[in-house]
């Protein structure tokens, strides 16, 4: 097979291809390309070029179950969280943006301290990240948007490597919002991100001094790892609970659905690795 002459920069700056992708999804921005949460069409196009490189070439993502994403209307996308940095959110976002069944520009709820970081805060909001305030999420669901929520928060993304693929405690806010706003929940499993950046300790006193939620000790290297995304069937919950323990049961139902998708994903990955080994032999 002939070796491609296309450089990484060429791959990232493939402008025409991005325009084709971006121009197909519904445009809900104002006259200057912004929406009320700072999402900006121009910045998102630029960011997509980089994400496309990550998605196609670096993580070689394979996505399954994209037909489960509602073509339109409100929904909550609930994945496991991993990888120390928010690349899992970016890959899910890209999968939704380029979804052949119905492309959507999702929003993702992020940690509240991020807007205080120069450049990062603005960049994140320009590509669809929104601070994790329930009021924001309610407004976006009312606006019929697809919203990605990581109920584990930093407990999931910054967990130690030895805890990989073990779901951490889920907050219940997403379930309250799903019930109140009659929004379907799409459980998602992300396989492969756990291995990319590995944390071996969390220096809590340092985190406190820096005013950050965590201070992970990581190997300063992004290990290459193929990523699998599994989107499950929509889950619907009526707004008919009487106590918090009922909500927790429903949260556990979603957690179980994600765990099942994680198992499927890990099996698929193991099978792929075995196939590769057999091919080499």
């Amino acid at each position: 097979m002939a070796k491609s002459n296309t450089s990484i920069i060429d791959k990232i700056l493939n402008r025409n291809e991005m325009d084709d992708i971006v121009n197909v999804f519904p445009n809900k921005v104002g006259s200057q390309g912004y929406d009320a949460w700072g999402f900006n069409m121009k910045n998102m196009k630029n960011n997509m070029r980089f994400t496309k490189y990550l998605y196609d070439s670096f993580y070689k993502v394979e996505a399954f179950g994209l037909e489960n994403i509602p073509k339109e209307g409100r929904c909550l996308i609930i994945p496991n969280h991993s990888g120390q940095l928010p690349f899992d959110g970016m890959l899910i976002g890209y999968a939704l943006l380029t979804n052949q069944y119905a492309p959507r520009a999702p929003k993702a709820m992020v940690e509240r301290f991020l807007p205080t970081v120069p450049f990062i805060g603005n960049w994140l909001s320009s590509v669809g990240a929104v601070i994790g305030d329930p009021i924001n999420c309610e407004r976006m669901l009312d606006n019929e948007e697809a919203v990605v929520v990581f109920p584990e928060g930093v407990r999931g993304s910054n967990k130690l490597y030895k805890l990989k693929y073990q779901l951490q405690r889920f907050g219940s806010g997403f379930m309250h919002l799903a019930m109140k706003h009659n929004a379907p929940i799409i459980p998602v499993a992300v396989i492969g991100m756990e291995e990319t950046i590995r944390s071996y300790a969390d220096l809590k006193p340092l985190a406190k001094v820096l005013g950050m939620p965590v201070a992970p000790i990581v190997i300063p290297w992004v290990f290459p790892s193929k990523v699998y995304l599994y989107f499950g069937k929509p889950m619907y919950f009526k707004n008919d609970v009487h106590k918090e323990s009922d909500v927790k049961e429903r949260v556990d139902e979603v957690k179980a659905a994600i765990n099942k998708l994680i198992s499927t994903g890990l099996e698929k990955r193991n099978a792929d690795i075995a196939d590769k080994k057999n091919e080499k032999k």
């Binding site: 104002g30 200057q32 009320a36 700072g38 301290f113 807007p115 205080t116 120069p118 601070i131 407004r139």
Partner: protein, 310 residues
């Protein structure tokens, strides 16, 4: 012949008040007052220079039986010191409400500002009118704005006969406007904070005039945000308005504050630094729905005006 209704308009020397007076003077008898100067507004408009906190202010009420007050007069945070501002804006407004009660004025419209919500990294977007006012947590220089709101709310609920309407507009911009962010759009070089471009809303002065006149004529008491549902990043706004951006270091915050204190730029006051960092996006849908209001001028109209100044 039916006598024209009589309206007291405060802050008559301001660009917005002049536009409101100009629009209403055909149908109403306007009495204009300002603490700074006696404004010449043409023959049908009587004009006085008067301080709300002086006893002589009551003479205006003794002489005229008002049907409404449009209270646009406020000393902005760029003017005078904190103590004087508090006296004029808060104590002065209390005096105004008390006189409105004493002389049975059946309607009062009060102009506030979106600054009262405070610029915080934790603000959700589209703040509605029930959101707590946190500006005074950030700086003592905005205490008078928050207190003015609190006072208006107390009178609104305690004295419903006053029919108080409070308007909280986003950044007003356009010809003659001298607030902080409109000054920044009009300057050739404007300070911005390195790495921060908060989302902002702008309303053209002509649309704000129409919003005030509509709220006055429909008279539906309450507190309302006034803002279009169109947004722009602050640094983009500065660029599109034709200004050159001067990047001010944003970390550590104490350095930024030190620079602001040292430069003493009118358009980059230390107490507004957070507004250069974090968005305060307000939800104007209640006002739009209640009063059937839709701004006519676009963001591009606003920026075209500022570009024409350069």
């Amino acid at each position: 012949m039916e006598q024209k209704k009589k309206i007291l308009v405060t802050g008559a020397a301001g660009a917005l008040a002049k536009k409101v007076i100009d629009k209403l003077k055909k149908d109403y008898k306007i009495i204009a007052i300002d603490f700074r100067t006696k404004v010449d507004l043409g023959i049908p408009v009587e004009s006085y220079k008067v301080d709300f906190n002086k006893r002589i202010f009551e003479d205006v009420f003794r002489e005229h039986q008002f049907d409404a007050i449009i209270h646009l007069g406020r000393i902005s945070a760029q003017e005078l010191n904190r103590f004087t501002r508090y006296n004029a804006n808060v104590i002065g407004t209390k005096k105004l409400f008390d006189l409105a009660r004493k002389y049975n004025v059946p309607q009062t419209l009060v102009m506030s500002t979106y600054f009262v919500y405070g610029a915080s990294p934790y603000n959700p977007s589209l703040l509605d009118e029930t959101t707590p006012l946190k500006a005074s947590e950030l700086t003592m220089d905005l205490v008078d704005s928050v207190e003015l709101e609190n006072l208006s709310s107390i009178y609104l609920y305690k004295h419903p006969e006053l029919h108080i309407t409070v308007l909280r507009p986003c950044n007003i911009a356009g010809p003659g406007v001298r607030n902080t962010f409109s000054l920044l759009l009009s300057e050739k070089r404007s300070p911005v904070l390195w790495g921060f471009s908060p989302l902002m809303q702008f309303i053209h002065i002509d649309d704000m005039r129409d919003a005030i006149c509509t709220a006055f004529e429909k008279n539906i008491p309450g507190v309302y945000n006034v803002a279009p549902d169109d947004y722009i990043g602050f640094q983009d706004a500065i660029k599109i308005a034709g200004s050159q951006r001067i990047q001010i270091p944003s970390v550590p915050p104490s350095l930024t504050e030190g620079i602001a204190r040292f430069l003493k730029w009118k358009s980059f006051p230390p107490y507004l630094i957070n507004y250069f960092k974090y968005p305060v996006i307000i939800d104007g849908s209640l006002f739009a729905k209640t009063f059937g209001f839709k701004p006519k001028k676009t963001l591009e109209d606003i920026f075209t005006y500022y570009r024409s100044l350069k």
